[in-house]
């Protein structure tokens, strides 16, 4: 260890604590004991740290009420052990827990269903889409990119969408499932965002017949084909625009 290394270590050293028994500090301290220059440097360092630290600690004193507030918290947030509770309280707590579990289960189911996916994707493409991973008007290139990047199988698109020029694509995650987004120019100033996800990701995925839904200012249509579930969302677009795709 040279003196520069020793200085780096000794700058983290404070006497009188656990640092003294640390092997790294001990070696550096021993070096400072043997080298008068390093020793003088360390003495100056410790003196400086002591004065700076003392002034800092003196300058940040808690308000007088803080300790009493903290002690009062134990009355407010006092956990009661379950075996000390009366039986009726336990029964009520169990009932409440079951009720909450039921609500959460329903919500959990709801969060993972197709309506939740559709709503979240509609909101995303309508208001939060900020970039694409690949910009290309060539749908074949987009398909190749998705296949290479995400192992995305063949996209089975309706004829109306196949004819539209693509704008690009992006890979995303939803509830830990991969979602491929491909954007198409509808030609009337609107964009159709196609979102493709594994059918198994949605327990209530729509059947092969398209299901049209308007979510706020976003027109959507969802359907499943093969192993995939498809969703097209178009902000400002109309249901009629989407019907023309099929």
């Amino acid at each position: 260890m040279n003196n520069e290394e020793a200085k780096l270590i000794l700058q983290a050293y404070r006497p009188g604590g656990e640092d003294s028994v640390d092997p790294q500090f001990r070696e550096a301290l021993e070096q400072a004991r043997l080298d008068p220059d390093l020793g003088a440097w360390l003495a100056n360092e410790l003196e400086l740290d002591q004065r700076i630290g003392g002034k800092f600690r003196d300058s940040v004193t808690p308000p007088v009420h803080l300790k009493s507030r903290l002690l009062a918290q134990r009355k407010i947030v006092k956990p009661v052990v379950w075996w000390r509770q009366p039986a009726w309280q336990l029964a009520a707590a169990c009932f409440a827990a079951l009720l909450i579990l039921g609500v959460f289960w329903n919500r959990f189911e709801g969060r993972n269903g197709f309506p939740a996916y559709r709503a979240e994707m509609a909101d995303f493409v309508g208001h939060r889409l900020d970039r694409l991973d690949l910009m290309s008007h060539d749908l074949a290139e987009v398909r190749r990119w998705l296949k290479d990047q995400a192992g995305q199988g063949e996209l089975l698109l309706p004829a109306g969408l196949e004819r539209r020029p693509s704008l690009g694509c992006r890979l995303m995650d939803w509830q830990q499932h991969k979602v491929s987004l491909v954007c198409f120019d509808l030609g009337n100033g609107h964009v159709a965002h196609l979102l493709v996800i594994d059918r198994t990701a949605l327990p209530d995925a729509p059947a092969e017949s398209p299901v049209f839904t308007q979510i706020s200012d976003v027109a959507t249509v969802g359907w499943s084909r093969g192993e995939k579930t498809y969703l097209v969302a178009s902000q400002g677009g109309s249901q009629l625009d989407l019907m023309k795709l099929f």
């Binding site: 656990e18 700076i52 630290g53 002034k55 600690r57 940040v60 808690p62 903290l70 918290q73 134990r74």
Partner: protein
């Protein structure tokens, strides 16, 4: 955690915890709230801490995480990694510090960038080994050492500038300032 343990934890750590919260938030109100939140979580989850010697680190780590939670709602934290330490320590003598008021030292410390300020505050609170500082801040030990070194250099530079203002007659300090390598 029983009431006696909790009271003991409050008495032993609330001052340093408040100071750490202050160094994070920069004001007394938020520092109080951070301390209250950390102790509130201790009340609720303290039973999970098997080793009572770990309560101190647990409190500081919890307070820091609470603060990061606050901050992440505002913006993503910048991430800095320090490869090496090259700053020279400014030539400041212990007596220069004596002419400075406590508040000047605190303000100078608070002006440092967060990734230098936090390890330095924990260091000056004298409550933590450098290994504990690494645990609280969730960074490697080597990073703590390099941040302490660079943080000290920056702090002393600020303090020296303040000391020069207080002692305009001191030639030595002026010469030190001129000869000092720019960071």
């Amino acid at each position: 955690m029983n009431e006696a343990d909790y009271e003991q934890a409050v008495s032993a750590h609330y001052t340093a915890l408040y100071a750490f919260g202050y160094s994070l938030a920069g004001n007394a109100d938020d520092a109080c709230e951070l301390a209250q939140e950390a102790f509130s979580r201790l009340l609720m989850k303290g039973g999970q801490i098997r080793d009572t010697a770990k309560i101190k680190s647990w409190l500081f780590t919890t307070l820091y995480r609470v603060f990061l939670g606050w901050k992440s709602r505002q913006s993503r934290l910048p991430h800095f990694e320090i490869e090496s330490v090259s700053d020279e320590l400014p030539a400041i003598a212990p007596e220069h510090v004596d002419v400075l008021e406590n508040d000047i030292v605190r303000l100078a410390l608070l002006q440092l960038e967060e990734h230098y300020r936090l390890p330095l505050v924990l260091f000056y609170l004298n409550d933590h080994s450098y290994e504990e500082i690494a645990t609280v801040l969730d960074v490697p030990i080597g990073t703590v050492m390099s941040r302490l070194s660079r943080g000290k250099a920056q702090l002393r530079e600020k303090l020296l500038a303040c000391a020069v203002d207080r002692q305009p007659q001191s030639k030595t300090i002026r010469l030190d300032l001129k000869s000092r390598t720019a960071p």
